[in-house]
Symmetry: C2
C-alpha cells in the first residue's frame, strides 16, 4: 500500500514515517495488515532528513498548489496522513497564510482525492484549539466549537469539510483532535503552545525557559510517542467503529503549567526546574486560555486509543529519546 504524509518533514511527520517504516504495515480497507510499499513525504521544507529507505520518496512543494498534490496522490494512494498546518501563533499573525494552508490546502487535498477515485483513508490532525470561548470544565464530544483563534477556526473548518466528504464517500476520513504535544524536541516554534514543550525541554538542556502563562493555566497534553500511536490507531480503526462521527477527541493529560514544572523537578531535580522563568505574555495567554484544560475521553478509550500514563513518564520519555547519556542526570 502507498501512504502519503503531508507536513512529512515536520516533527510529527518524520516521526510517523520512521514508525511506519519500522512497523512495515498498516491496516487496509479489508481489515488485514498490508505491507507499506511506498511512503511519500510532502512538505514545503526543502527535503531535509528524509529517512534513508527505498520505500520513501520526498517531495518538496507547496500543498496549496493542485499540481503538487496531484503529483503525490493518485489512484494507488491507500492512506493519507494530513499533518501539514500553519501553527496557531503564525495563523493569528498572518491571517491569509493560515487560510491558504489550513483551509485551502485541506480542501484541495479532498478535491484531489475525489478526482483520483482512490477513496483513501484520510487521517486529519485536528487540535484542542477548535474549542474556545465559554467552555464547561470538561469538554464533551457534544460541546459546540467556538474557536477563539484563526488556527482553531481553520482546523474546525477542515473537520467539517472532511466529515462531509467522508459522508459523501469521497474519502474515508478520521479526524483526530490532538491535545498539545509535549515534549517536542528541537527549538521553539510559532505555536502559542510552544511553551508547553519549552518549559521542560530547555531546562533539561541547560537553557533558561520563559513560561508565558500563569502557573494555574490548564493545558491538555499528549506525548510525541503516544501521538504517533494514536495516528496509527486512528488509521487502523474500521470505518464502522466511527459510525457517523468521524471525529475523536484523543486522550490527554490534564496539567497546569505549575504542575508541569513540579513534575520536571521530581524527574530532573530542583536545579533544572529553577531554569523556568515566569513571565506572562498576554498575546499567548489570550490564545491558550481559550483552549479546554481537559475533555471527556470515554469514546477515545472505548475505541482503543492509547494514552500517556503520567507527565513524569512523558518527561522520562523525552530524556531517554533526546538527551545524550551524559546529559541524563536526574536527581532521583
Amino acid at each position: 500500500m502507498n501512504v502519503v504524509i503531508t507536513g512529512g518533514q515536520g516533527f510529527l511527520g518524520r516521526r510517523l514515517a520512521a514508525t511506519l517504516l519500522r512497523k512495515g504495515t498498516l491496516r487496509g480497507p479489508g481489515g488485514t495488515e498490508e505491507a507499506i510499499e511506498r511512503i511519500t513525504l510532502v512538505d514545503s521544507a526543502a527535503a531535509a532528513a528524509a529517512p534513508d529507505d527505498p520505500r520513501v520518496t520526498s517531495v518538496a512543494g507547496d500543498i496549496t498548489v493542485a499540481a503538487v498534490l496531484q503529483r503525490v496522490v493518485d489512484r494507488d494512494t491507500a492512506s493519507i496522513f494530513h499533518l501539514a498546518a500553519v501553527v496557531s501563533g503564525m495563523a493569528e499573525a498572518d491571517f491569509d497564510l493560515g487560510l491558504r494552508v489550513n483551509l485551502d490546502a485541506t480542501r484541495l487535498l479532498l478535491d484531489v482525492c475525489r478526482s483520483s477515485g482512490a477513496h483513501p483513508r484520510l487521517v486529519f490532525a485536528s487540535s484542542v484549539a477548535v474549542y474556545g470561548g465559554e467552555l464547561p470544565d470538561t469538554v464533551l464530544d457534544s460541546t459546540a466549537l467556538t474557536p477563539q483563534s484563526s488556527y482553531g477556526t481553520q482546523k474546525a473548518i477542515g473537520e467539517l469539510l472532511i466529515a462531509d466528504c467522508t459522508r459523501r464517500g469521497f474519502v474515508d476520513g478520521r479526524i483526530l483532535r490532538l491535545p498539545t504535544i509535549s515534549v517536542r524536541p528541537g527549538t521553539p516554534n510559532a505555536a502559542a503552545s510552544s511553551f508547553a514543550s519549552g518549559i521542560v525541554r530547555e531546562p533539561l538542556n541547560g537553557i533558561e525557559a520563559v513560561c508565558p502563562v500563569d502557573p494555574a493555566t490548564r493545558v491538555w497534553l499528549l506525548s510525541p510517542a503516544t501521538a504517533i500511536a494514536c495516528l496509527v490507531a486512528g488509521h487502523d480503526l474500521p470505518a464502522e467503529a466511527l459510525g457517523r462521527r468521524p471525529i475523536v477527541n484523543l486522550p490527554g493529560l490534564a496539567m497546569t503549567a505549575g504542575a508541569m514544572v513540579a513534575a520536571l523537578e521530581r524527574v530532573a531535580g530542583a536545579e533544572v526546574a529553577r531554569r523556568v522563568r515566569w513571565e506572562r505574555d498576554p498575546r499567548i495567554e489570550a490564545i491558550v486560555a481559550t483552549w479546554p484544560g481537559a475533555w471527556d475521553t470515554t469514546r477515545a478509550r472505548a475505541l482503543g486509543f492509547p494514552c500517556d500514563e503520567s507527565f513524569d513518564a512523558v518527561i522520562r520519555q523525552y530524556i531517554d529519546e533526546q538527551l545524550a547519556p551524559e546529559q541524563r542526570t536526574p536527581t532521583r
Copy 2:
C-alpha cells in the same frame, strides 16, 4: 447609510428590501436610527422585479466573482445582509456549486469587506441545517454542530469564517440561524424543506401537494414576516449584546408535518387539507430527519428577537398576504 443585500432577488431578499424601504432607517454603529440612502440588491438572477424606488440599485452578477462584490461593497457600505445561497437539495445534488456559492462567496465577501476598510455590519442567514446527527430533543446553543448535509456543512463553515472575521475586527458579524421558512409564496424550490411551505401553499391555491416525510417528522418553522423582523432585529443589536457569541438560534415554532396539516384544516377547512398526499421520499427524509425539531430560544428571546404566535396565525398571514380575496374561503 448604504445597505447591500446578497441574494437580493430571492424571496427573503426582495421582502427585506421592501421592508427596509418602507421603514426608511436602520440602526447605525452609534446606536441611533440612520436614514437608508441606498440599497444594492446583488443576485445571479437577471434583475427581476426590483422595487421602483430611487434608493434601490439592482446588480445582476455572480457573487463568487471578486469584481462583482467589489462593485457593490465599498468603504461607504454600512450594512450587508448576506442571504445568497445554494439551497439544501441543490447543494446535495451539486457539491461543487454548493461549495462555490455557500463557502467561496462568503469568504470572498469577507475579503472584500476587509480590504474595503468599511467594517460593515454583516447579517448572515444561517440555517437549522447546521445541526444534524445524534441530537438532544431540544438543541442548545452549546450543542455541537454535526451537519449531515453539504448545505449544513457549508453554512457551518460560513458561520466559523464570519465569527473569526468578527473577532479580528474585519466585520461586525451577526449570524442568525433561521428555522425553516414557512409559508413561502411562489413555487416549490430545490430545498429539501420545500414541502414545509408546499403542503400549506398548494392546497390553499387549489393544488394537490405531496408531503415527502412522515407525518411525525418534526420541523422548526418561522414565518416570512417574522424572519424579516428577525433579520432587522439582528442587524440593529449593539455588538456588545452579542459579546463573543455572534451566533443566535432564532425562535421558531416546533411542529410536525401532521400538525401543520391539522392547522391547515383548522384555518382553511377539511377540503383544503385533503389536498395533501403523503408519499415519503427517502432522499428528502434523509436530509430533513437530521435537522433539529426544536432548539432552546432563551438567548434569542432575551436579546429581543420576535417570534410567531402559532402556526394557525402563520397560515392566516399567508392567506392575507398572498391570496386574492375570492380565494380566501376559510371555513371558520
